[in-house]
């Protein structure tokens, strides 16, 4: 398991990355934490002649909480997300989910940007970002633009990001209300058999706002608008939750793999979504 030879670049600005991407096109790839890319390179499943390391760009790192808005640089690692007390206070859902990703060593290097940008449906952060209704900031030769996490994913490994663009940051409004990220996996280090992020705000005994998104239950993360519609305005009674769970399961489209067949995954999806809703309601 040895990668084929490549040239290594480590620019110190985003513009530097973009110009390299523009120059080398398809032959170039950016590397963040590397824990998705390097294993694939070692198996020679991808051919990359130019590897552009984002590790040297200071502006891509860091968490800032500005009033109601949270901004996270793409190169912020999962370990840093977990370690940040300020973030844990402002958006505890992030820590809850991050602790369920991979293992300690991988979390030291794995970044939020890498996790959301590579389009692997098994990654946890994309579903989480859809739950949070996050915005992704992309920079390319034509400048910068924003794409909502809920609009970003097109198919497995296909996203709204153009080849010459990089994802620089993520922002989202400071969440309120209850939350949960529930994940079933075979063991630590595994991807989800099924996972779901949920946020619920309750006002006057009624669900004022809600968000439900799924991980690894389709070829993209799935934002469950129908489940949200069912929840919002309701008193979150059992029948409503049941309807919402069914809506979420209906929105899922898992494939069979070593984790199990489709009927099993759909069933677990229902269990997980229900757990997440119940837990979010309890915390709201």
């Amino acid at each position: 398991m040895i990668a084929s030879a490549f040239e290594y670049h480590k620019p110190d600005t985003v513009d530097g990355v973009v110009s390299l991407l523009s120059k080398w096109g398809d032959d170039a790839r950016v590397i963040a934490g590397g824990h998705s890319l390097i294993p694939v390179m070692k198996q020679r499943m991808t051919d990359i002649s130019h590897l552009i390391d984002l590790g040297g760009i200071a502006e891509l790192k860091g968490i800032s909480i500005d009033g109601d808005k949270i901004n996270i640089g793409a190169m912020t690692t999962q370990h840093e997300l977990i370690a940040s007390e300020a973030l844990a206070k402002a958006a505890p859902l992030i820590r809850e989910a991050s602790l369920q990703i991979a293992d300690p060593q991988v979390r030291y290097l794995g970044t939020i940007g890498g996790n959301v940008a590579n389009g692997d449906p098994a990654n946890d952060m994309p579903g989480l970002m859809q739950t949070l209704d996050a915005t992704y900031y992309l920079t390319g030769p034509g400048g910068s633009r924003e794409v909502k996490a809920r609009d970003f994913y097109e198919a497995a490994y296909f996203t709204a990001r153009e080849d010459e663009e990089i994802l620089t940051a993520i922002s989202f409004a400071k969440p309120s209300g209850g939350f949960a990220y529930e994940k079933q996996k075979r063991k630590i280090g595994d991807y989800a058999t099924a996972a779901a992020g949920v946020m619920i705000t309750i006002e006057g005994g009624k669900c004022k706002a809600a968000s439900v998104a799924l991980t690894n239950l389709s070829d993209t993360p799935v934002y469950c608008a129908a489940a949200v519609d069912a929840l919002v305005g309701s008193s979150l009674d059992d029948a409503t939750i049941k309807t919402a769970v069914k809506a979420a399961v209906d929105a899922s489209d898992p494939v069979a793999d070593t984790r199990g067949p489709v009927d099993f995954k759909k069933h677990v999806a229902g269990v997980i979504v229900k757990k997440a809703i119940t837990s979010a309601v309890a915390r709201a």
Partner: protein, 162 residues
């Protein structure tokens, strides 16, 4: 695609060598620097046998290109303890039979070392979660967990008496 200069500080010593960018950190450590303590178990970042400390982080050196380690501060198992004695963790692994074939041990101890830097008084659950990136095929972990908890207690004792 020639070789490039790689500078790192490994176990407190500055090293400089020529590497291909695609060379993995684990191979640089083992083959260029003869630090064979960290091992290769799975090559896909699942087993943790290759764990070393890089810039204060436990990392799996089979999934880091040498080029990414430019200017890094690396500690391997060879950098723990000293020539005249075992590190407390090494001692406790021996005391509590926390190893059998020894293959996972360097990565496991290096990881445990970082864990105790970050959490000097962990619960059993925190130890189990904290070493969950390191696989062991021999021990069933029970004595490893015991050894790490014992090492934490010892290290705290020393701290208190200081």
């Amino acid at each position: 695609m020639g070789k490039t200069h790689l500078k790192m500080t490994v176990n407190g010593k500055e090293v400089e060598l020529l590497t291909e960018p695609r060379q993995l950190l684990i191979h640089v450590l083992r083959e260029d620097l003869n630090l064979t303590g960290a091992h290769i178990g799975c090559e896909s970042s699942h087993c943790g046998a290759c764990t070393v400390d890089m810039n204060g982080m436990s990392i799996k050196s089979c999934t880091v290109f040498a080029a990414q380690a430019q200017d890094a501060e690396i500690t391997t198992i060879e950098g723990l303890g000293s020539s005249d004695g075992l590190h407390v963790l090494q001692e406790m692994f021996k005391e509590h039979h926390g190893l059998q074939c020894g293959y996972c041990t360097p990565g496991m101890i290096t990881r445990a070392h970082r864990l105790l830097q970050e959490n000097s008084n962990p619960t059993e659950e925190e130890v189990r979660f904290g070493i969950s990136g390191n696989l062991c095929r021999c021990t069933g972990y029970q004595n490893i967990v015991k050894a790490i908890l014992a090492a934490a207690a010892k290290m705290n004792e020393v701290k208190e008496s200081a």
